[in-house]
Symmetry: C2
Subunit: 201 residues, 2 copies
């Protein structure tokens, strides 16, 4: 059975970078946006469109308590992209040892007993990382005031929490759902943290 | 300035053992019950009595909203033991690099920026550890049914949470108050975890 590490992370915490170092050190496969690319290949939908659908909980046009079934009110493509995403995550996890970032993989793969990491940090550090990491699609930090950037980070993390809770029924970032929760504000050297974590495998 | 590691831990999670390994590997001083012994020396009260006072939040004989001041309703010795405990923790932390277990040391020493660890585990593992570790004052696990033991563990952890919240105003075990939260159910080899953590120092 492959060894699976899943990494949930607050936006701006450096979780993705930490995940990449960890995969490199251990020689494990690394899956993050690769999952989106694979769905795009299989469905011939655009990556941007898939990312939007695959990373957000569906918008429900009217309340569930009308008596109609839940899925009936969600556009089909949303469900299909999610199903495709789940299938791909399971395939990737079965193929080899791997590190998977986000996408509720800890829950999807719960029967395979992955090692579940959550990465978080203080607000100031999230701001700093966003400013430093302007290549990131979301951040565009240089054009934002501190207040705008803080609000943007908060929104992205709220959306991740919503997505996770919608698909897993669990609380995002609640330590009881993870095996290790790392605050990157206490140690900015992500490679050092990755090396420490890797030494347990 | 000394390097300080504080370890909060659920009863039965193996946190104390992990703390001891960590101190050994790093060559740091280790403080846990040593703090109680030191208070006993200074106050000439019995260790058992001090432990009871130092590890529980005070019982308030009547509600605070009567208009009398808060401390006025708490027996003086409780306050003194707490003050003594705070003073000793600060002295110990100033003396040399150290690992301090429990007692809200993460909060007491917050200005010294300690590395704050919280150790937790699944209920079944807490039960197992208590059964294995019968020398522990609290456990007396062999004489208890599973249900009784589970209830006892829950009570002890509720009391730790109450104590912590009373003296710090923070939520015990909430990851935002810690730099690393370790679930020992995912890796039973505490020495291995301690080595991994030590490698970050």
């Amino acid at each position: 059975m492959s060894r699976i590490i899943t990494i949930g992370r607050e936006f701006g915490s450096g979780g993705r970078e930490l995940a990449r170092y960890l995969a490199e050190i251990l020689g494990y496969a690394y899956y993050d946006r690769e999952i989106i690319s694979e769905i795009a290949k299989r469905t011939s939908l655009s990556e941007k469109y898939i990312q939007n659908v695959a990373e957000h909980k569906p918008v429900i046009p009217f309340p569930i308590h009308t008596g109609r079934t839940f899925w009936a009110v969600i556009p089909d493509y949303g469900q299909n992209v999610q199903q495709e995403q789940h299938a791909i995550i399971r395939e990737m996890a079965a193929k080899s040892d791997c590190v998977i970032v986000g996408r509720g993989a800890d829950y999807i793969l719960r029967d395979e007993k992955p090692y579940r990491i959550f990465v978080y940090s203080d607000s100031e550090d999230k701001m700093r990382r966003c400013r430093e990491n302007l290549s990131d699609d979301y951040a565009k930090g240089a054009e934002m005031t501190d207040k705008e950037l803080a609000r943007r980070i908060e929104q992205i993390n709220a959306s991740r929490a919503e997505y996770y809770e919608f698909y897993t029924g669990q609380k995002w970032g609640d330590k009881s759902n993870y095996d290790l929760c790392i605050n990157t504000s206490a140690c900015h050297d992500l490679k050092k943290i990755a090396q420490a974590v890797a030494s347990m495998f």
